[in-house]
Amino acid sequence: MHELALAESVLQMVDEAARANGFRRVRKIVLEIGQLAAVDPAAMRFCFDAVVRETVADGAVLEIEEIPGRGWCVHCAAVVPMDDFVAACPQCGSFGVQSRSGRELRLKTLEVE
């Protein structure tokens, strides 16, 4: 239920934005979630629907942009796709691939009215 806390955190940021920008309804929320961020998009949607009930974001579409994991191999210096933190480098087979992207957890944009 990691996603519940994250959904609550998103709603808090939306509320802050509503106060700052004076909008009354959110139509769409765009999140960026890296594939290495240990967040399950389906669980995120489920929790999101539960926390936004009767708020400005009630009924809003949740759009999740998944960012693929990419890493840099410290041995062969290749930039390689990265599915998890423990896999070996697909180019040279050694361990020690450092993540370059895929850990994102961002609220990008809101479409409001």
Partner: protein, 311 residues
Amino acid sequence: MCMTCGCGSEGVHLDGHKDDVGHEHEHVGTDGVVYRHAHRHHHHGSDVSHRHDAEPAVPREIRIERDILAKNDSFASDNRQRFEQEGVLALNLVSSPGSGKTSLLVRTLLALQGKTPVAVIEGDQQTSLDAERIRATGIAAVQVNTGKGCHLDAQMVQRALAEQAPTPESLLFIENVGNLVCPAAFDLGEAAKVVVLSVTEGDDKPLKYPDMFRAARLMLINKCDLLPHVQFDVQRVIENARRVNPGIEVIQLSAVTGAGVAEWLDWLEREFGAVKARRADSVAVLKRRVAELEAQLQAQHTFPANEPHDL
């Protein structure tokens, strides 16, 4: 409150009318048209103003571009700064439920009794009696109510610190909720995460929960007294942990028999010493700076008086 008329939601009205009476107001819609209309007192109960049927909804995009965990991270950095200033070594103890965090804490507190000031923040919901077990040692423990929450966050820790401020130059143990997933993502401001793994769990745990083992500085392999009775390969678990985190330190121990606990106490002493040394350094720097400023002030005061007036 009503953003248009400014009325509050607790029977407070700007224009002095009553709750059950409607009122009339005027404002400019997003389409630029001036709307004047009466409305019953609906009291929205939030900061959102009401809709007008006549007013077309014009969607617009707002760029936020903020990290979802930004709020937690800012509370965490406040906590960390406070710990550093006061010379408090704060450790975030994480594990699956039942790995032995509370047992190890109790043993540790008893060993440190009378030597080092210690405080405990208890977040584990698995056993609500944990705070009682800690208090039985005579150590102050604040129980944080995480509700349904599966992890502690930095704001909860800040509230616990307000309830019971840690003594300067002390140890603070934070027992997190038994969960190896999200406590990895929620920084509390601790100096280090310490992950406890017991030999009754699988030796592939570091590979199943790589985020947590990457985030931890130290892995404690607990319940080593049970090693003769279980299928658990200590070398394998260490290899697995170092695959995800090459720098992780490892100590094998038993909270029940006390074997290996001395090594853990040494680790604590070393880390605590480093925290105190950093504090002493920053205090020394501060003192030097104050002395310099005082000397400058002194010079400004005495220089013109002692100097012969040539001009």
